[in-house]
């Protein structure tokens, strides 16, 4: 085993990697020297190859997946592939990182693989759990932990191997603000006093700024284009990075957009006394919730994970039958919304899901925009015109023939919104629309919502994103423990 907490240097020389089946290089010409114990943030627009560089350093790039590769990556003076046990890695999705059903067993997993004798395992597991501030019992089922706590556990699972280099690939991308704070503070406390080298990709740069002492900027196909202390790099390149979609922390990035009120209008949706308890659960996900939404306004629904705000959105969109109460939409069939036929529903209500992939039902981006209108009985020529208009407006024309599943994260999000807007619904329900998006897509989504609302569309947005809610919401609903509280914000 390695000596605990002594950092290792990372040396990348002329590194390039092209995945099999891809024309473009994921990254190329990357030169980077990281001294032992340095804490480096890797930033760059989407497609710059940040994740590929991280995986190369972790020794996890499988040569069989490469069509071409060049250059070298060394950790502590040996090729990264041979130094795997000196690198600990934390990935985006904690659900897909945990192996065992009991917390302590999961932390022990990496030590078992390393062949550590059984009697040394448990003391080291306890030490790692303490180091990341994991306060639940050893036997706590991993499935019963929140996303932030799962990620904290995964961090313990990486640290217990006493890595010389810790590599974090957007560890907070799947978490709510509370979970993000949990994980970043766990990283901070784990690294305090340790000499571990840190290499981090994190799109909430503002939240991670306190952890790092150096920023390296990657450009698609251009390798490293800037390098230095955070204040210098962001000072020099803040505007350019922000324009490329990078979240630049506050002193250097653009100011938060101001609130713009919607025009308002008649009530379009009325929900009364909604309750729902999911099968095989005891506690209701939502109890006696009421909501009324007017045309030309935006309602932001906020609250912690598991508070029932997504359930409220699904009920409001007519996608789930409530146990009690009903949702009514003005005009259309005289039935509760959840009993509308899908073809009627998609004409009036558009729902944007948290994961855009869940919504895709065809093989090309353009077809995605034609499904809804076809089902709703909109004439084909009108549908085609609107499809082309939306593709253009959301910068997707170039990708009209592409398979939706092959698009980048931001493109997928834009397509999922365009597909829903194709039927020109008068109510738009969005579940975490800005989740994981870069700064550019974020601003576009906001602009689009403001425009739709000005045209009379009613918007219900479930979101953790405080900046998005502040810029858009005419009204706020806060859900906690399945009980929503409406607070009409008085703004002049």
């Amino acid at each position: 085993m390695t000596v605990p907490d002594r950092g290792a240097a990372v040396r990348v020389r002329g590194f390039g990697w092209r995945y099999a089946g891809r024309k473009a290089w994921a990254c190329r010409g990357v030169d980077l020297d990281i001294a032992a114990g340095e804490r480096v943030l890797l930033v760059g627009p989407s497609g710059a190859g940040k994740s590929t560089v991280l995986r190369a350093v972790a020794g996890l790039l499988d040569p069989e997946t490469a069509a071409e590769q060049e250059g070298s990556v060394e950790v502590g003076g040996v090729p990264a592939a041979a130094a795997r046990d000196r690198v600990g890695m934390l990935l985006q999705d904690p659900e897909a990182s945990l192996v065992m059903s009991r917390s302590s067993d999961d932390v022990a997993f990496g030590l078992e693989n390393a062949g550590v004798p059984a009697e040394e395992i448990w003391p080291r597991v306890d030490e790692a759990l303490a180091r990341v501030g994991f306060r639940h019992g050893r036997h706590r089922p991993t499935a019963a932990l929140s996303g932030g706590e799962q990620q904290r556990l995964a961090l313990a699972g990486a640290l217990v191997r006493r890595p010389s280099v810790l590599v974090l690939d957007e560890p907070t991308a799947n978490l709510d603000p509370a979970g993000t704070a949990t994980v970043l503070s766990a990283v901070e406390s784990a690294l305090t006093g340790a000499g571990t080298t840190l290499l981090l990709v994190e799109h909430r740069v503002d939240a991670a700024a306190g952890l790092i002492d150096r920023v390296v900027v990657l450009e698609p196909g251009g390798g490293v284009v800037d390098d230095g202390p955070p204040a210098e790099v962001f000072g020099r390149r803040g505007a350019a990075l922000a324009a490329a979609g990078v979240w630049v922390p506050t002193p250097w990035g653009p100011a938060a957009p101001p609130f713009r009120p919607g025009p308002g209008g008649d009530v379009v949706l009325t929900a009364r006394d909604l309750s729902l308890t999911y099968p095989r659960t005891r506690r209701p996900a939502l109890s006696s919730a009421s909501l009324s939404v007017r045309r030309g306004t935006a309602v932001a629904v906020t609250g912690p994970n598991g508070s029932g705000k997504s359930t409220l959105a699904m009920l409001a969109a007519g996608l789930l039958p409530p146990d009690t109460g009903s949702v009514r939409l003005s005009g259309g069939p005289d039935r509760p919304l959840h009993r509308w036929r899908p073809r009627d529903l998609c004409r009036r209500v558009g729902t944007v899901f948290q994961d855009p992939e869940h919504q895709f039902v065809t093989r090309t981006a353009r077809d995605e925009l034609l499904v809804g209108p076809h089902r709703a009985g909109i004439p084909a020529d009108a549908a085609a015109r609107r499809a082309d208009e939306l593709l253009d407006r959301l910068r997707l024309t170039r990708l009209a023939g592409a398979n939706p599943f092959t698009l980048s994260g931001g493109e997928k999000r834009r397509l999922s919104v365009a597909a829903v807007l194709a039927t020109a619904p008068d109510l738009l329900v969005m579940d975490e629309p800005t989740f994981g998006q870069d700064a550019r897509t974020w601003a576009e989504l906001l602009e689009l919502c403001v425009g739709l609302r000005a045209g009379g569309t009613a918007i219900v947005a479930v979101t953790h994103d405080e900046a998005f809610a502040s810029a858009l919401a005419d009204e706020r609903v806060t859900v906690s423990g399945g009980v929503p509280a409406t607070a009409a914000e008085v703004r002049s």
Binding site: E112, N113, R280
Partner: protein, 268 residues
Amino acid sequence: MTLLQTHLSTDPGAPLARRNPVAKLAAALIPSVVLLVSVDPVSSGLLLTAWLISVPSWGVGWPGLVRRLWPLGLAVVMVTLGNAVFTARKGGATMLEAGPLLITTESLATGATAGLRVAAIALPGVLAVLTIDPVDLADSLVRHLRVPARFAYGSLAAFRLAPLLAAEWEVLGRARRARGLGGDRNPLRALAVLGGRLFALLVGAVRRGTHLAVAMDARGFAASAHRTSARRPEFGRADAALLAASALLTAVAVTAALATGAWSPVLS
């Protein structure tokens, strides 16, 4: 699916629940294999009674067991009725006659025997599976049966994803409704929607699986040549006793069936 989906709230400290997973599985396997050989009410009835009596010692509550086992109950009823109707043995008094449908006392007895046998074969396995923690099972398989660790823990990690996929399936259904799909009378179109939903589930599953593999390799799973085990599953005297008891019980049941002349091998 309902049988495996969620862990039943059991008392893990109950005398039989605490036993080694491999011992539990073997103890459940012995009567099942023997019952496959013969269709008779005596061996099936004795073994089923014995296993029913053992239910409390597994730490499984009756209400939970009944809730979980209704598909099995349904299967037993179907097997009983099916055999009662379709058996060639139609002696005895006629109980029900409606056109080609004929149920007599003898055919009903034949059906009941078949149903009893299905219940007696299934119950031991169900009790064992319900009370086994998957991690303990993987540990025991690796330690006692020399199953390769790569296979055992790889499968374990994959099974953890099952509830996530179940949740994703629901979301995909809602997303299709939101896009205006579904609610068709045309079965072909309904099938196409279902196919698309399955494909999307598959894409998600492959992606999750790939991420899981990377996460496991990042913790040295692929490279591990000399793996150790943090937990030491023991195969103790009580575990051996469970095996012996199961074997003894099965032997008694077979002897009783032979002695009463009820024994009737399937292949003869």
